[in-house]
């Protein structure tokens, strides 16, 4: 419980296996990239402190496994997320098509209070591959999908080259922060001895 108020933001990264979720995270947090593919088992967790508009906050990044066999962990992992990052590989149409499933799945499992305005960010990764020649999902198509889902911010990145990664996460942090802004007043009941020690049912005002 730090005396100076800091904000912690839970960020979930979702997407098909192999689109580069872990690489993006490693590039962002550790400024490192490895060509070797290592499947994530369950989930990986990384922490990054970020300064944004004079405020210090911590990103708690949940890098999930893309494989379907891990999807049973859904509720547990998605609960209480402040932002969800959907990642696809611009060189794989299937990974792009699946964005819709990932988004739906997240909204069902996490059941945020305001699903319409829940902050998502979409990242098209691996723009560096083959000089862009093997690309199958056009930026236009991706942006159109993002626009249709309530203007989701869109970034094209290369985790390998470190292109646009910082910018994408800046946006993620900004959006997550925005959604967590509402200040709440904590006001529990007071014991009412007169009515057999039952708390009044005025409810918590938070």
């Amino acid at each position: 419980m730090p005396s100076r108020r800091r904000t912690l933001l839970k960020v979930i990264i979702l997407g098909d296996s192999g689109v580069g979720k872990t690489s993006l995270m490693n590039q962002y947090v550790n400024k490192k990239f490895s060509n070797q593919y290592k499947a994530t088992i369950g989930a990986d967790f990384l922490t990054k402190e970020v300064q944004f508009e004079d405020r210090l906050f911590t990103l708690q990044i949940w890098d999930t496994a893309g494989q379907e066999r891990f999807q049973s962990l859904g509720v547990a992992f998605y609960r209480g997320a402040d932002c969800c990052v959907l990642v696809y590989d611009v060189n794989s149409m299937k990974s792009f098509d699946n964005l819709n499933n990932w988004r739906e799945e997240f909204l069902i499992q996490a059941s945020p209070s305001d699903p319409e305005n829940f902050p998502f960010v979409v990242i098209g990764n691996k723009v560096d591959v083959d000089g862009g020649n093997s690309r199958v999902v056009s930026e236009k198509k991706a942006r159109a999908w993002c626009a249709s889902k309530g203007n989701i911010p869109y970034y094209e990145t290369s985790a390998k080259e470190g292109i646009n990664v910082e910018e994408a996460f800046q946006c993620i942090a900004k959006d997550a922060l925005k959604s967590g802004e509402e200040e709440e007043i904590y006001l529990p009941d007071t014991i009412d001895v007169g009515s057999s020690n039952q708390p009044r049912s005025t409810g918590c005002e938070c």
Binding site: S3, D44, T47, A76, R79
Partner: protein, 610 residues
Amino acid sequence: MSSESRASSSGDEASEPNPNPIPKPPEDQLAALALSETDSHANGVVHGSAGENNHNHQEIESDEEEVEANSAAPGLAEVEESREGLPRGSVGGVVWARTNSELEVDGPSSPSSSGYAGERGSSSASSGGSGIDEISEVRNEEVVDGFSDLQASWVPGKRHVDEDDASLSWRKRKKHFFILSNSGKPIYSRHGDEHKLAGFSATLQAIISFVENGGDHVKLVRAGKHQVVFLVKGPIYLVCISCTEEPYESLRMQLELIYGQMLLILTKSVNRCFEKNPKFDMTPLLGGTDIVFSSLIHSFSWNPATFLHAYTCLPLAYATRQAAGAILQDVADSGVLFAILMCKHKVISLVGAQKASLHPDDMLLLSNFVMASESFRTSESFSPICLPRYNPMAFLYAYVHYLDADTYLMLLTTSSDAFYHLKDCRIRIEMVLLKSSVLSEIQRSMIDGGMRVEELPLDPLPRSASFSPHLGQHTLSTDSPDRFREPYIGVGGPAGLWHFIYRSIFLDQYVSSEFSPPISSPRQQKRLYRAYQKLYASMHDRGIGPHKTQFRRDENYVLLCWVTQDFELYAAFDPLADKALAIKTCNRVCQWVKDVENEIFLLGASPFSW
């Protein structure tokens, strides 16, 4: 003093003609309960073999910090299964000197060699240049005066804020406590910075949720020397990671108390915040209460109330306590729910409005909250608090005022605008206490201390006589200063009795003897409490218990525990103590407690339903 001479000294005592070896208490009931060796056989005595408990020595402990002696930290590494790039067990460079010498110091061959305490004290862990200087040694001088509490040497507040789960030093801490939300957001960590531990916190949540997903609950994970204990309280997860060898039940109870402390500050209404908003971040609500939790965790190693679920009273003459109770009762009748007068963690008197009863755990958490928060000392305060055992859902209001450095008055009410009324009550109480010299009696009792094993009366005396000259009104004012000047070279009380705790089941109160050599350093005291705690857990184990008596001998102590319907007695003896004599001594302790119960317990003077 050599062990030989000591053994003979207890032998002397045995041969001493004792007209009435087993005191005949006035009440038939108590007489029937007198502990005898044959009885204990019938009840199934557990004989602990020497060496059974030897792991305790291998802990390098200072009074507060506990750091793992082993160079590898396999337990933590295993928990963090999904983290990469951490120095998993590869701890090469730093050397934590393990001081096996303690084993010898402690060995039955020379348990009371001269400078026993000093030797203990000097066997400090060398920190080998690791930069963790907190593993400093116990300061013996603090306990020489006989009334030291472990609190004295404890530095409040959180340390090691720079640490996180990648720090070697963090991984070596022997006992971690975490509070997190069910979305994996950190709320509290005993060591290290909560935000830096966000990844670790997420890992814990993942483990708990993974098991819950399978329709099950994870309670305990053993990983090498480490135990990972989980407690799920709705949206709040509590985790303890420990390699202190404490029983699972004890660690779980400590987590319960930490949860209770959180409720005392916030009430269970936080659950609704999580229901409404799973993203809910509790840390701002708990801002500044870090010290309350660290103080509670510290009390796990010095305050027997944390495992006995009973409170203890400051020894006072019966009339003095009555006088305090009367004035408290007076204000309680004017709309105060509870009026509690305490001195440090000891109760002077307390009264409650009709039908209202206070659980000892609530008292522990409340007094910890008040004592840990510095702001209560400097001004009269009015603060919302929740008594989790009384009503976890709602707030009460506590008026708190310190009457002197250690003595404080707490008036609890349900009315949020009762401040001025309670202030008036306090002024009235304070005046009466001053006039009737209760406050000065309190201060004298603080200096004089409580029961001392050295003063255990040899023979049962008529009840009118005071067995302990410094207890209550029989105090000779010239007596105590002398006592403190005398250097203790003693070996405790008769028959090698070193220490005891007596818990009255009916009163929900306990009395603990003062610490005196050879149990002198905070570290030794902590070790003894841990041994009691283990004994308590084994006596109350539902699987194999309940037991009535237990006699356990290892190279540290002879521990004797005796549980009846009315009381529980925990006694520690010299490891060479004679069994029959120890049993006889326990009977005498019970008689002694009975004889001075007017002074050491708060007896049902108030219409208080316990």
